[in-house]
């Protein structure tokens, strides 16, 4: 069996709970109860159900590489509503064993072409071991469901563990996506990375064993 066909088979298993294999232009984002993944770890379209969880995470100390900000419930709801109206953004929450574990977003989606991928996993407890599963689900969704050709992201310079995670799983440094942004009152350099659809099967092959462990309820690391 070729790597591509074995990959396709596995993604089919992982995505068994997708409501429908829809393309972005068919999604009614505000209504879709889209769930991608397994009971052990999945992405679910963000809505007000998870506002308090997101606020608790966002208003906590997420480390030196994330903006330390305070967001009110009202401000968050306004922000979420404005995002739901946009056709080029998909905001997900991460559920680990049914409980909130972080967020993941596909933004700047150019249909059939590319998007930016970002995610935030609660960093201070055992949930962070699920980072690889979220990385996999985001990439799989972008390539297998949306049919995109490239995913890119930008990592704050100095955030070595996240940079290492990407490079280990097939992402390449891509200066086209380098940029600067204000992080905690200083201008920080963001290091651009990307991965193409062509590189995705190899990337998946490298992470498959551990991803399977995380997504299978019988082997997923316990949190309680």
């Amino acid at each position: 069996m070729s790597e591509e066909s074995s990959l396709a088979g596995y993604v089919e298993i992982v995505s068994e709970r997708i409501v429908d294999r829809m393309r972005l232009d068919q999604l009614e984002i505000a209504k879709a109860p889209l769930r991608y993944g397994t009971d052990a770890c999945c992405l679910v379209l963000a809505d007000s159900t998870y506002t308090k969880d997101i606020l608790n995470m966002r208003n906590s100390d997420l480390g030196a590489h994330m903006n330390r900000i305070q967001v009110t419930e009202e401000k968050h709801e306004r922000w979420l509503a404005s995002r739901l109206a946009l056709p080029d953004i998909l905001d997900f929450v991460v559920l680990i064993d049914g409980k909130f574990g972080g967020t993941a977003s596909l933004t700047e989606i150019e249909r059939g072409v590319k998007c930016e991928f970002g995610r935030m996993i609660i960093p201070n407890d055992g949930r962070r071991v699920y980072t690889l599963a979220v990385e996999f689900l985001g990439m799989s969704f972008a390539f297998e469901v949306l049919g995109l050709e490239e995913i890119y992201c930008a990592v704050v310079e100095g955030n070595d563990s996240i940079l290492r995670l990407h490079l280990r799983h097939g992402w390449k440094l891509n200066p086209a996506y380098n940029r600067k942004a204000a992080v905690n009152d200083r201008m920080a350099r963001l290091v651009g990375l990307s991965i193409s659809r062509k590189e995705w099967p190899n990337s998946f092959a490298g992470m498959k064993k551990l991803v399977r462990r995380l997504l299978d309820k019988d082997t997923a690391p316990a949190l309680t």
């Binding site: 996993i121 201070n124 407890d125 055992g126 949930r127 962070r128 071991v129 980072t131 690889l132 563990s161 290492r164 995670l165 280990r168 064993k209 551990l210 462990r213 995380l214 082997t219 690391p221 316990a222 949190l223 309680t224």
Partner: protein, 77 residues
């Protein structure tokens, strides 16, 4: 598997030098210590000892010795 047999496997997955690693080795001071290494430790312990480590318990470990402590009697002496 006893502790002496387990330590080289642990050193390999946490990318520590087995020659200098000890129970007092601080995990956060290892150059590649991150969520992937945590996950690799969980996989190692499951595969070698048949134990599904609790991720929250492991995430609280600050030293190699504390990882060995939570394995407790699963490691023969």
């Amino acid at each position: 598997m006893n502790k002496a047999e387990f330590l080289p496997h642990l050193a390999q997955v946490i990318e520590a030098d087995i020659g200098t690693m000890s129970e007092s080795t601080v995990l956060n001071e290892l150059p590649n210590w991150d969520s992937m290494r945590l996950l690799e430790v969980i996989a190692l312990v499951d595969e070698q000892l048949g134990v599904n480590l609790n991720a929250n318990q492991l995430a609280k470990c600050e030293t190699v010795g504390q990882i060995l402590d939570i394995l407790g009697e699963k490691l023969a002496y």
